[in-house]
């Protein structure tokens, strides 16, 4: 959205401005996850940590699939809803039923962060993966098998900054086989979207 779209002074415009300031907006990683999701998604779809809701919107519009955009951040759930996605405020997978989704997408907060330098706001929740960079990937992988329907697929974005081999080991421990769907290298990191299926 550009500044011209805003009706300055109205409550809605102010709220939108705030939402954008505290919600992770689409970037290279989002584009890569969307590309993989458009290829692999089927059935009922959940995007965890949906942020702006952009990836979920691509899946809903391009593939015509029922898509839920879930985020810890209520500003993010609101942005997802404004994009026509079903927005839910939730902690990872905790309020979803067993076997509920055929496709689960997750672009986790993955930057390894020194605990002394954490900044304690919504943008930190969106970016920081704790000291290892894997603080949210671990509980996600522990629980995703529960909500995934038989024949379902998980699309997980992994950065080389988070430790590709370490994430693969966690994926195997969780009972999944991983297959790279798309990969792209940037000056400071390589991003890969893995498709996980029950081993």
């Amino acid at each position: 959205m550009t500044g011209d779209d805003r009706d300055a002074g109205s409550g809605l415009a102010e709220r939108r401005g705030l939402d954008e300031a505290v919600v992770y907006q689409p970037a290279e990683d989002s584009g890569l996850l969307a590309e993989a999701a458009l290829e692999e998604a089927h059935g009922r779809v959940l995007e965890v940590g949906t942020g702006s809701g952009w990836v979920a919107q691509q899946i809903a519009e391009e593939r015509g699939l029922d898509t839920v955009g879930s985020d810890l951040n209520p500003h993010a759930a609101r942005q997802a809803r404004e994009r026509g996605v079903e927005g839910v405020v939730a902690d990872l997978l905790s309020p979803y039923r067993a076997d509920a989704f055929d496709t689960v997408c997750f672009n986790p907060p993955y930057l390894p962060t020194d605990p002394d330098n954490e900044w304690g706001d919504w943008m930190e929740h969106a970016l920081s993966g704790g000291e290892s960079g894997r603080e949210l990937i671990e509980p996600f992988l522990d629980d995703v098998g529960r909500v995934l329907a038989p024949g379902g697929v998980v699309l997980l974005l992994v950065s080389s900054l988070t430790g590709y081999d370490e994430v693969l080991a966690l994926v195997e421990d969780a009972g999944f086989a991983a297959e790279p769907v798309v990969e792209e290298s940037f000056p400071f990191e390589t991003l890969t979207v893995l498709a996980l299926r029950r081993a």
């Binding site: 959940l46 209520p74 927005g87 839910v88 939730a90 902690d91 309020p95 039923r97």
Partner: protein
């Protein structure tokens, strides 16, 4: 939220079914209401069309 969301959500604490109470809705969606756990009785709000299914201890922090 659409009523079909009820097929995929549950109480985040004990995974039990939720009871939907609608205060306000339009043709497509529930705008305001509550979701109550049929097991533990915890109540989760639906506001501006968005259910907040955070466990109660996380809800206070997140609404700030």
């Amino acid at each position: 939220m659409k009523e079909s969301l009820m097929d995929v959500i549950c109480c985040p604490l004990d995974k039990a079914d939720l009871d939907l109470d609608i205060d306000e809705r339009d043709d497509e969606e529930i705008l305001t209401g509550t979701l109550t756990c049929t097991e533990c009785g915890e109540i989760y709000p639906i506001e501006d069309g968005i259910p907040n299914l955070l466990p109660p201890d996380m809800r206070e922090e997140a609404m700030a």
